[in-house]
Structures are given as C-alpha cells and as structure tokens.
C-alpha cells in the first residue's frame, strides 16, 4: 500500500481533506482531544530516554533511601522526584514513562500479530470457503468460547512453568506479544470473514477471476482493501484490549518483571504498599493506564460511528 504513495501523495491528502472522516473529526471535540492525548502519550513514552529525569534501568541511579517519597503536592515530597518514588527508590515519573513504552510496544506488537493471523485466516476462510472455512471458524469458535483473557492467562502460566521464570522474564516482551497475539486472532478472522463474504460475490471479484488472476492475488490485492474499514475499527479496540490484557497478565505476575516494568507490573508492585498509605505507587500508573486505554476506546467509538462497518455482532 505505502510503496506507491510518492506520486499520488498530494491527491491522497486532498482525498483525506474532503472525506467524511476528516469532516466529522473536525467537528468532534472528543475525538480531537482523545487523539491529542493518545499522540502525546505515545510520543512521551517512546522518547522516554530523552524525557525521563533518571534512567530507572540503571541501578546506579536508584537511591533506596529515597523510597516511597510522595508526589509533589503532598508534604514530605522531594523536589527531585515530581511524582514521588516507588518502593525501590526509583523515580515514579521516569519509570512510568518507560513502563508506558513497554505497554504500548506490547499492545502494538500483539495487535500486529493478531491482525496478521486474523486477516490471513479470515480472508482464507471467507474467500476459499468449504473445508478451510469450516475448520478455521470452528477453531475460532472454540477459542472465542473461552475468554481471550483466560486463554492468555493459561498459556502464560504454562509457558512460564515450562521454561522457568528466569527465561520467561528475559524474553517477557516477546512472550507477551506472542501470547496476546495468539489469544485474540479470532476477533479479526471473524470480522474479516464477514466482510469478505459480502464482497466476494461482487462483480469486480468476478472480473479479476475471469482475468485469470490467482486466488492469493485476488484475496490480498482486490478483496482485502475493501475490508479495511472494519479492520481499522476493531484495531483500535484491540489495541486497548491488548494493553489491558498485558496489564492483567503483569498484575498476576505472568508478564513483565519488576526490573523492567510495564504499567501493569508497576500497579502490581505498588499494590503491596497500598495498605501502608503509599497509594501513589499503584494509583498513578493506574491513572496513566486508564487515560491511555480510555483515549483509544473513545477514538474507537468515534471511528465506529463514522465508518459504521458491518461489525460481527455477538
């Protein structure tokens, strides 16, 4: 898709400017605000090494004596640590920036994997039909009849038990992307299949077939572009879901280790100290997580209203 943009770039920009999508975006304050918040968070998270006052992965910069300091608006705060420190004396602001980066990385990675698997299988099921369809959809049905979170927890637990905690923590990012990616592909597959079924009897597909194109080319170059709008809509929701799933796994101790925390493992680590009154260690990362997920969800809601695709219900 992006390879041929150089010559057609201006017209694309014009098309975007004239589109209903842009028109409704200009009028929707919530969508603008959410996109702004989301972009700010993404930029802040990925430029964490530049923005963060300290490097939380560097043990030399951690001062255990400065642990559990409150954020700036509470008495007893240290000017050095704007949002206070966690139980290990790490600067909370820095560790949250780095943690958001980890969460986003896993969220995007897992959704990319889901989309790859789901779109491929969905296209195959919808376009080829017959046995392939029956097999893939039965598989998706079985997997969806368990909650995706349950699948992720079980797979995570088993992988961790098989490979040992040390190995698991070392490759935690990769593991989480794989686990969450594998747990949620049926969502994509079903959505794509539903729109492929609607597309495949249209004349342009017949035309392509009569021209003698191979199935693979018809599927990916002709049918797929016409199923993109539902894919966009569920992608936003799926990113939010993946971030929540990652947080849940980390909270259960099946995700990112505390030395390399995501937002979920920060919440887990802070939860142990909530009874002693240090609520900020757990609730500030929690608030960041909620703002992140909420902005994505609201954007998804807006996209769904605008694009109004035939989403798979139920």
């Amino acid at each position: 898709m992006t390879t041929s943009t150089t010559s057609t770039a201006p017209s694309r920009w014009e098309r975007l400017r004239d589109s209903f999508l842009w028109y409704s975006f200009k009028r929707d304050r919530t969508a603008q605000l959410c996109l702004a918040v989301f972009i700010c968070l993404v930029i802040a998270a990925f430029s964490a090494p530049l923005l963060a006052p300290t490097d939380p992965y560097d043990l030399a910069q951690i001062d255990i004596l400065a642990s559990e300091l409150p954020p700036f608006w509470i008495d007893g705060a240290d000017e050095m640590y704007t949002l206070g420190t966690d139980a290990q004396g790490r600067d909370l602001l820095s560790i949250i920036l780095y943690g958001t980066r980890v969460s986003l990385l896993i969220g995007f990675g897992a959704v990319a994997l889901q989309a790859l698997l789901g779109v491929t299988f969905g296209l195959m099921a919808g376009y080829l039909g017959g046995r392939v369809d029956a097999f893939l959809m039965r598989l998706a049905d079985i997997q969806l009849s368990f909650s995706t979170l349950m699948v992720a927890i079980v797979v995570g637990a088993v992988v961790k038990a098989t490979m040992g905690s040390a190995f698991y923590s070392q490759y935690a990012v990769l593991m989480l992307i794989l686990i969450i990616g594998l747990a949620e592909w049926p969502q994509y597959a079903r959505t794509v299949r539903a729109s492929v079924l609607a597309e495949k009897n249209k004349e342009y597909v017949d035309a392509a077939r009569v021209m003698g194109l191979r199935s693979r080319r018809i599927m990916f170059r002709h049918v797929l572009p016409n199923t993109l709008s539902p894919i966009f809509v569920i992608s936003t929701v799926q990113i939010a879901n993946a971030i929540i799933s990652e947080a849940a796994l980390s909270f259960l101790g099946l995700g990112m280790p505390e030395t390399h925390p995501s937002l979920g493992s920060l919440i887990k680590a802070g939860f142990d100290y909530i009874q002693s009154g240090s609520w900020w260690i757990t609730l500030i990362p929690g608030a960041v997580l909620v703002v992140l997920v909420l902005s994505i969800n609201l954007l998804g809601d807006w996209l769904r209203d605008v694009m109004n695709p035939r989403l798979y219900k139920g």
């Binding site: 009849s145 368990f146 909650s147 637990a157 088993v158 909270f251």
Partner: protein
Amino acid sequence: MIAFLIKRLMHAILVMFVISVLAFAIQDNLGDPVQQMVGQSVPESEREAIRERLGLNDPFLVQYVRFAKNAVQGDFGYSYFYREPALEVIARHLPATLELVFAATLIIVLLSVPIGVYSAIKPRSPISRFFMGASIIGISIPVFLTAIVLIQIFSIGITVSLFPEGTAWGAWLNGLLSTEGNMPSFGRGYDLVHVVGHWDTNLVTWNGLQHLVLPAVSLASIMLPLFIRLIRAEMMEVLQSEYVKYARAKGISMRRVYFVHALKNTMLPVITVGGVQIGTMVAYTILTETVFQWPGMGLMFLDAINHADIPLIVTYLMIVGVIFVVTNTIVDLIYGFVNPTVKLTGKPA
C-alpha cells in the same frame, strides 16, 4: 430439536477432548514426577524401574488413554502442594468463587436492565448520557484497578483537604469527600455459615456480606458497562420495529409496550452474550480474587502456578473447560428454545 441437541453435544465432547489432550500434554511435559518422588541418592537404575512401574515409559497415546479414563472417573491425581486429591482441593475452593460470581451477576442484572432500558427510551436525556459516558470509562478501567481503587476508598479511606479547612463549607466539602474506610478488604471473614459439604456461605451474615461487597462490585464493574451498552443498543433497535409501532398505535400504555413487548425481544441477544460472559467471568475471578485474597479457585490456580503444582493446574484447566463448555451449550439450547426463528438443525445465526 434432537438433531440440534446431538450436534451441540458432539461439539461439546470434541472441545472437551481437545482440552484434555492439551491438559495432558502440559502434564506430560512439565517436570519429572520421579524426581519429585525420590531423593538425590536414588540411582538411575532404580529411577528407571519406578518409571517403568508407573507406566511413564509407555507411548503418549497409552498414557493419555489412562489419564482420560481416570479423569472421567473423577481421579485427577494428587496435588503436590496440598497432598490430597486435586479434585478435592478444587471442590473446596469452588463455592467461594461461585458465590462471588453469583453476587456479581446479581448486581449486573439488577443494574444493567433498568439503566439500559432507560437510556434506550430516553437516549438524549442527561442521565442517559451520563451512563453512556460512565460505561465507556468503566470498560477502560481494568478490573484489578477498580478493585484497588475500591480498597483505597472504602477500606483504607481517603482524607480530602482540597478545600480551605477554616471555612464552614470547606470543612463540609472535605468531610463529604473523605471516607472512613472500614470495609474489609481481604478474605471471606470469620462469620461463614456452613451449608453442605464444602459449601460455607457468605450470603447470610452481616460480616460475610460485608466481605463479599467489594469483590462482587469489582467483578461486576467489568461486565456492567458491556451489558448496559448491549441492552441499550438492542432495545433501540427493537423500538424501531413495526410491531412496537403497532402496539403503540393500538393505544397500549407505554410502560406495557416497553417492558412487556419490547423488552422480551431485547433480551434474546442478551441471553447469548450473557451466558458466554458468565463463563468469561471465571477469568476475571482470577484477578479479583488475587486482589482481595478471596480463597476461591482463581487464587488457588495462581498459587498452583507459583508452586508448580502441575496436577492441580491440569485439574483446574479441565474443570474450567467443563464450566465453559456447559454454559455455552446451555446458552445455545436456551436460545434455541426462546427464539423459534433459529434453525435448530444448524448453527444459530
């Protein structure tokens, strides 16, 4: 109907077969049971003899058949950690989880139906807008975070000093926003009433109910927004339909149209989604029980993972598999019964 029933049962058996193979493969690949049984000094020849006697050298298929045969008879092996039959351990933890799910379901049903129906009837009213906004915020808060916030507010307590303490209104507002925090935040409490077998209930004593409230509310919080939105969407669709217009034109009271005519058809899809979601709640109980140290199956499962208690993990997977398969099958059957337009011989559309 019979054909549909048989088809569903076949499907259920197939799923259980897949789960059992997976569970057995896990058991087969995790750790060496002989190493867990004997000490360091036992020679290799002796170990080999034990392996032979226990049948661990048999082919995978033979071992699987043995495992399946025992499992069907309710024998899932011994938990390493509790040193008693794994099924027994699960049975002891099951009632706590079921009570939690029951209480959460009760909250969901009692709140989602009226709110969903109201916001469908009056989509533009400020109250509906508030609930719609609140529900998307609710979806965005992970269940464990809701639980932590509830603990902070109701069991630790918060002291607000945002407003000037000197003035009367400031002190009043501060007092209004602060909470005492006297709700229990972990465990099931001391005041359980024994019912039957392993079932001690939280539902009949004041102390028991107090312990149940926070976990149940957090568990409900994840599903409630979903159901409110679902009921609202379905109800709005139904209200557009011809038969509702006709009923209205006949002069039937609006209350009757809404709650008798429209609500019936609204609940159809809610039943399917609802049944599946009750199964999904099992997954969320793991999170809720971890936060509140609620001694149910979810907490037990997490402990089993940390102890590498493989027989217990496998048993839990099988039992949860059964719960999922049974709820899904029942939901499909109920749907077939209440919705005569479903082709019972095929898959319900």
